[in-house]
């Protein structure tokens, strides 16, 4: 099987415009369908102002709005406020209850994938599996940088899923784990904050060579006498892993949705940082059938110098997706 990768958009991508009141959720949904990305990922705690109190009437309004645009929900991004109270964490039972609250709302919205924050303990999720099965919601633990597909913390969730033999617990990769090149938007921002171009170039070069970040941080902070912006730039390398795309096939059975993180697309629709050109062929080869859901996070890196245009960024990413998917499929057919 191939050709089943679907394209979608997370409402997260439009945080700049929505924060500033320049777009509402319906504007985002309308735009997404206009570029052929009909799958909508929602963050109820961002996009539903009355959360966690959501009435059936509100759910009906959402469904009507989506169907007006020919869109549908793909994924529900949950949060877990373990630090709700000052000085003490939620008890295990309270954590399970909070997750069940989200599973219930997810089910009421007709959504079958739930993005679980990466810090949620695997043993807590294990306790939620029977309810997730009842609600028919897949709990996907977000594999987010600096973690990666084969990080031992992630493997604990995979082990629980295997042991239980459940199809309702797994992972949900964020493509930030495939940062092959240092994002130009990061570098430019640090240079505006006072990083010297030669030091910035050194940091980029170190990342290019995949030198373990602590060497670079020490070089910059101590040996080069780095200023605040330079040290901060070096420290971003702690969160800039380049996981091996070849491992995707081993983990594909555990995920049904992807957060397609990106920081900026070039005018000719290339992602200079995240290795989609290596990731998408792997997804196509293993016949993965989920949704690539745009997660634009470039706004915070450029908003000090230019107007953020999330629409244009997301549009370019989807041109790239179409191109890479078509290319990978044609190569598969030749073989």
């Amino acid at each position: 099987m191939s050709g089943q990768i679907k394209r979608g958009v997370s409402l997260y991508s439009f945080q700049e415009e929505m924060f500033l009141g320049r777009m509402n959720v319906e504007d985002v949904v309308g735009f997404s369908t206009s570029i052929g990305a009909a799958g909508i990922e929602i963050l109820p705690e961002q996009n539903m102002p009355t959360f966690p109190h959501i009435t059936d009437a509100q759910i009906g309004e959402w469904q009507d709005m989506l169907s007006r645009h020919g869109a549908h929900f793909t994924c529900y991004d949950m949060f877990l406020d373990t630090k709700l109270r000052k000085g003490e964490l939620l008890s295990d039972e309270e954590q399970v209850e909070s997750i069940k609250r989200d599973l219930t709302l997810c089910n009421r919205l007709g959504i079958r994938n739930m993005r679980v924050l990466i810090f949620v303990r695997p043993d807590i999720l294990e306790k939620c599996v029977p309810y997730a099965e009842q609600m028919d919601v897949h709990m996907g633990v977000e594999v987010h940088a600096p973690w990666h597909l084969e990080h031992a913390w992630i493997l604990r969730t995979v082990d629980v899923a295997d042991r239980l033999g459940t199809r309702h617990l797994g992972i949900l990769p964020d493509m930030g784990i495939f940062m092959k090149n240092y994002p130009p938007e990061f570098r430019a921002r640090f240079e505006r904050q006072g990083a010297r171009p030669e030091v910035a170039q050194f940091i980029v070069g170190q990342h290019q060579q995949k030198i373990m970040c602590e060497y670079t941080i020490y070089e910059v902070a101590v040996k080069m006498g780095g200023n605040k912006a330079e040290v901060a730039m070096a420290e971003t390398l702690r969160h800039a892993p380049y996981a091996n795309p070849k491992r995707i096939k081993d983990y594909a059975p555990y995920f049904r949705h992807i957060q397609a993180k990106f920081y900026g697309m070039t005018e000719d629709c290339i992602d200079p940082a995240i290795a989609y050109d290596e990731v998408i062929p792997e997804l196509v080869k293993c016949g993965w059938e989920g949704t690539l859901s745009s997660e634009y996070e470039g706004n915070r890196w450029i908003q000090d110098v230019e107007e953020v245009d999330s629409r244009e960024q997301v549009r370019r990413q989807h041109v790239m997706f179409e191109n890479l998917i078509a290319k990978a499929q044609s190569e598969l057919e030749i073989v």
Binding site: Q15, M18, Q46, N47, P49, F79, L84, K86, D304
Partner: protein, 130 residues
Amino acid sequence: MFDRYLIDADSLRNTGPADAPTGFAFDAKLGYYRGLGLSMVEKLDIAIDGEPLPREAVRFDEGLGPLTLDEMETAYDRRWPFGTAATILVDRPGGFPAGEHELSLLQQLRVSYLPFPAVNTDKKSVSLAA
């Protein structure tokens, strides 16, 4: 991620009697990509020209009535929604000083998945509308 947009500079106004203001107020948004329960807003530090105002002088109102920062700590059923301005009220006899001054706001949030508190800051040069 939204630091530069936190303070609504045009919202500054005095509170109390017009001829003897007892404080000032302004509107601000939460610097976060989602809404957050009020109990997890640990600090709203306000300063004028770098001079901090006491924590006890600050109150917060997202529309359901003003709370002191200590009261916010246990306001488990109230939230500051995403992208939504709330009112920050500050007790200061005489109100906001005349002329242009730098108003700063620091928000410290207890975000459960972060190992450290999230801190957002905004500074704007503001003055009361004539």
